[in-house]
């Protein structure tokens, strides 16, 4: 590959009335692990389809490894491996045969296919299932095999669309370790996800996408700067907060109060917070506190700040399946 691994300019895509992607620029350097982060329907999959040659942009240009994709899409496809958001291997074939077939599509010879397939089955912990049909695999096993299939031909650039969605903690941890390993070997990775924590841990750089537009692209370090050393406390209340926020700010100088939801109070500070005094203050005034949770501010908060989108749905999923 020459030039940046991915360079896209002014990509646009509509589906009838829906503007799926509204003019975005992406540049990913060689060897980078790039996160593409956004809520459901933001346009992540649509963007990835255009970058991988599965759909044509209405406007804009794409270069993969210096190859102009509108002129020479098939040459660019040699360089990439793709993990789509569905586990779309062949249900009739065994794990081993699926991998060999994937390798064959990229012109690998028989011996190379078998050797690489065995290696990957070992690496992904699927040796015992290698001769079983794909249709009988569990969700997590399917996901792992799909990733293995995408790297059969050792592509220098790997696209993944939500590789850890809907699978258990163990499988997602294994996948994240594998991605880190590939990253260390110099593979460029374009990772689409709506798990903010996942992106924060894995990626070098992140683009936030919302409603078909990139809101911001930066390194994880720089994105985290504004929240560095900030602390937050989330207090869930039963039946809302009858006390005006101004009164709370007077009682607790130096703290920022905000009503995140009618029954959820958010407190922010540059110092580590003590929950006890605030909870006592509230309870003394007849407010019932259900839960108070302390945490260090993270990329989630940056995301909410930048996009203006309540990260609610993204966070919930994250808590359930991540860590």
């Amino acid at each position: 590959m020459t030039g940046p691994a991915i360079r896209a300019r002014g990509l646009k895509k509509r589906f009838g009335e829906v503007r799926a992607v509204g003019g975005i620029d992406i540049e990913v350097s060689k060897g980078e692990l790039f996160g593409f982060l956004g809520p459901n329907g933001a346009g992540k999959t649509t963007t990835m389809s255009m970058l991988t040659g599965l759909s044509r942009p209405d406007a804009g240009s794409i270069e993969i490894g210096g190859i102009d994709c509108s002129r020479n899409p098939k040459a660019a496809q040699h360089l990439i491996g793709v993990v789509s958001d569905e586990s779309n291997l062949y249900p009739e074939l065994s794990g081993f045969d699926n991998l060999c077939f994937s390798g064959a599509l990229y012109g690998m010879r028989r011996q190379d296919r078998s050797r690489k397939a065995s290696e990957l089955l070992e690496l992904f912990g699927l040796v015992d299932a290698s001769s079983r049909k794909f249709s009988g695999y569990s969700k997590g096993m399917k996901r792992r095999l799909v990733i293995a299939a995408a790297i059969m031909h050792s592509p220098p650039l790997l696209f993944l669309d939500e590789p850890t969605s809907g699978i258990d903690v163990e499988s997602s941890r294994m996948i994240r370790q594998l991605l880190t390993g590939l990253h260390r070997q110099g593979v460029t990775i374009f990772l689409t996800t709506h798990f903010i924590g996942e992106a924060e841990r894995l990626c070098d750089r992140i683009a936030f996408i919302a409603s078909g537009r990139i809101v911001r692209t930066d390194t994880v370090e720089r994105l985290l700067q504004p929240v560095q050393g900030r602390y937050a406390l989330t207090v869930s209340l039963s039946g809302g907060c009858p006390i005006p926020l101004g009164e709370l700010e007077v009682a607790f100088p130096g703290l920022d109060f905000q009503l995140q939801a009618p029954d959820e109070l958010r407190v922010e500070s540059g110092e580590p917070l003590k929950a006890g005094s605030l909870v006592r203050f509230l309870e003394d005034r007849g407010v019932e506190v259900i839960e108070a949770r302390k945490r260090v501010l993270s990329l989630e908060d940056v995301f909410v700040e930048i996009t203006g989108i309540g990260a609610g749905s993204m966070l919930k999923e994250k808590e359930g399946r991540w860590r």
């Binding site: 044509r56 062949y90 599509l105």
Partner: protein
């Protein structure tokens, strides 16, 4: 070289994974077996009438064999999004579609063996010109595969494809001279017959097996080849439009 590895792997995989799938067995193998058997019993010992139904039986077996195989290998994979894997791979689209249709073409030709073998048993095929039957069967298989391919691209659901292809398949049984000559049709239907590719294929089979034909064989072959090219390029065009949206 690399592209051919991909090409053969696709053909081999489709044959291995789909030839014995239930829809293929029932539509592809049992259906022609049942029809041919029924005709054989009806015509009894009258070998001439056996020879007159054999071309129709062969065409029918090929038609149903190719379209059921194609529905599995293309429509099914497209629906399950496994087809995306092929579109994402570096194989040129033309070769990819040739590979995806080869399995169906071979399956259709293999199906033609059912009535041919039964014909050997019950009828007198000594006068048959096999050097015309084999290429005719090949071209019928190709043309009906590409026709099914075009329908498969225009429809998205497996059942839609089946419904749509029945709209095409059943009229063709009556209009293409399978069991009675095209010339026996009412005059206003005859132009329609000559717009359907199967008419030309069946005409060659009648010539080879019975020695009766409407058009010169060279014209039949040329028309079939023309339909093959036309349908294939229409299919490629539609894939480019509809599937790489």
């Amino acid at each position: 070289m690399k592209t051919w590895i991909a090409f053969w792997s696709i053909v081999r995989k489709d044959m291995k994974a789909y030839y014995l799938k239930p829809p293929n067995v029932s539509w592809g193998l049992l259906f022609p077996l049942a029809w041919t058997g029924m005709f054989l019993i009806r015509s009894g010992q009258d070998t001439h009438s056996l020879q007159s139904v054999l071309p129709g039986m062969i065409a029918l077996s090929v038609l149903f064999g190719t379209s059921s195989m194609l529905a599995v290998a293309v429509t099914f994979e497209k629906k399950a999004r496994a087809f995306d894997r092929l579109l994402l791979s570096p194989i040129p689209l033309v070769l990819l579609m040739l590979a995806k249709t080869s399995g169906a073409i071979l399956f259709g030709m293999f199906n033609a063996l059912v009535p041919v073998l039964l014909g050997f048993w019950f009828a007198d095929l000594s006068g048959t010109d096999w050097s015309m039957v084999v290429p005719a069967v090949l071209l019928i298989a190709v043309v009906s595969t590409y026709l099914s391919l075009l329908l498969a691209i225009l429809a998205t659901e497996v059942f839609e494809v089946q419904t749509l292809s029945n709209f095409v398949r059943f009229p063709m049984i009556f209009l293409c001279g399978l069991f009675f000559p095209v010339t026996a049709l009412p005059w206003f239907l005859q132009p329609l017959s000559f717009m359907l590719p199967l008419t030309y294929g069946v005409d060659i089979l009648h010539a080879a097996i019975q020695g009766e034909q409407i058009l010169p064989a060279a014209l039949d072959f040329a028309a079939l080849a023309g339909f093959c090219l036309l349908l294939f390029s229409l299919s490629l065009h539609s894939i480019n439009r509809h599937w790489i949206g």
